[in-house]
Amino acid sequence: MSDESRISRTNVYTPTSLAELLSLYDKLPSALLFSGGTHILRAQRHKHLVLPANVINISKVQEMRRINRTERHLDIGAAVPIGTILSVGANVLPKVLSAALAEIASPAVRNRATMGGNICIAERRMSTYPVYLLLDMQLELRKEGTVRWTPLNRFAASGERLDLGRGEVLTRIRIPFAAWDVEVYRKIDRELESPENFLAFCGLARVQRNVIADIRFSFGTAGTLILRSREAENELIGRRVPISDRDAQPIFEIMDDLTAQNQNLLSGFQRGRIRALLRWFFSRLVEE
């Protein structure tokens, strides 16, 4: 147990504006940023919570509680609860995003958990990650005096270390709108409860006159391993649907190579499921 015990009382700060938050965090960069707190609290299964000396409750920061929509993208404040995103965005959210968000934990947890919190879990990529990735999610990161935008894959590029500077806060999430003809999402098992069996899959495709105009697909696995192959995607663009066995074969080979490189992280069973999911995605390309 850490030294921040019940004896040294926790100080909680509750800024209501972004400016206030950034200035506070600049002074207390080791403070814990707390919004829904679901991930932090889930890890403490005893009656008595242990929190660090300083906690900044960001759930009242107005700028981070908003959802904005333009013609080209959707902006979601990092402290908006997932339950709210689902109800407000019911007709706006990309289908795969709704599907992925709706499968997080239980309604009570979704009402507290936020998208910002979901993205900022460093030790593993959550079930939503493949969807975020394929939708080209951009993140707004702010600290006192500066603001920068970064694509999600760069933010989470180095394993368990996120690209967050000292005093820097994820404030806003931008999801560009794009039209896809095929959108599929599938989550198998739960990442926190049975990580060894967990898989998340997202596949997107644009098909024009039975020819694949654009396609992306990605698998999330336990830990920080995300499988996506641009090579496989490029190989498929321009191919006809339904995808013939001949066209599919090289894609399976690429993916098999990729999973084989990560044998220590993926059991034979998981690799079998990855192949089966991919085959299923290809079969869906026929139906659309």
Binding site: T10, V12, L41, Q44, L49, P107, A108, N111
Partner: protein
């Protein structure tokens, strides 16, 4: 730390450690034991309350996060028309959760119907999925919620007329 919030419609102030969980505040400071302290990790759902109108696990709400919020437990919900409708629907459907999880289930049904007035079977099961007590059947749950939906629809119809 002084925490002011609304509990079952009344303004209250309580002096507690900021990290004390709402479920324990309810039980120890207000003697409201209908919210059960189970897993302390948001998994069993026995501590469910409505927080700012939405279903929440009260074990997942530290005191500081409750400040200024509105908490509704079964004690505050009892006596309302909606509560009576749900109880009647449970009875008519033969749905009998045990008294350990009954309040959580009643509140979860209320929360579900507030956001989704006509849930299908899957939505009902998902809506109640956060409460893991194994006491009651699923078939009668689905039936009970369907009856509650009907009751609310006919009430709305009567009001319109």
């Amino acid at each position: 730390m002084n925490i002011a919030f609304t509990l079952n419609g009344k303004s209250v102030v309580v002096n507690v450690e900021p990290e004390k969980r709402l479920v324990d505040i309810l039980r120890e400071n207000f003697s409201i034991t209908s919210a059960k302290a189970g897993c302390y990790s948001g998994e069993c759902g026995a501590c469910s309350v409505l927080f700012d109108g939405a279903l929440a696990c009260s074990c997942m709400l530290p005191a500081f996060a409750v400040r200024g919020g509105e908490v509704l437990t079964i004690e505050g919900f009892e006596g309302s028309e909606e509560h009576a409708e749900i109880i009647k629907a449970f009875g008519d459907a033969g749905y009998r959760p045990c008294s350990y999880c009954a309040s959580a289930r009643i509140l979860a049904v209320e929360a579900l119907l507030r956001t989704n007035p006509q849930p299908d079977e899957r939505e009902v099961l998902i809506g109640l999925s956060g409460i893991s007590c194994q006491c009651a059947g699923y078939t009668s749950l689905v039936k009970a919620v369907a009856l509650a939906v009907e009751a609310r629809k006919s009430k709305r119809r009567v009001r319109r007329e």
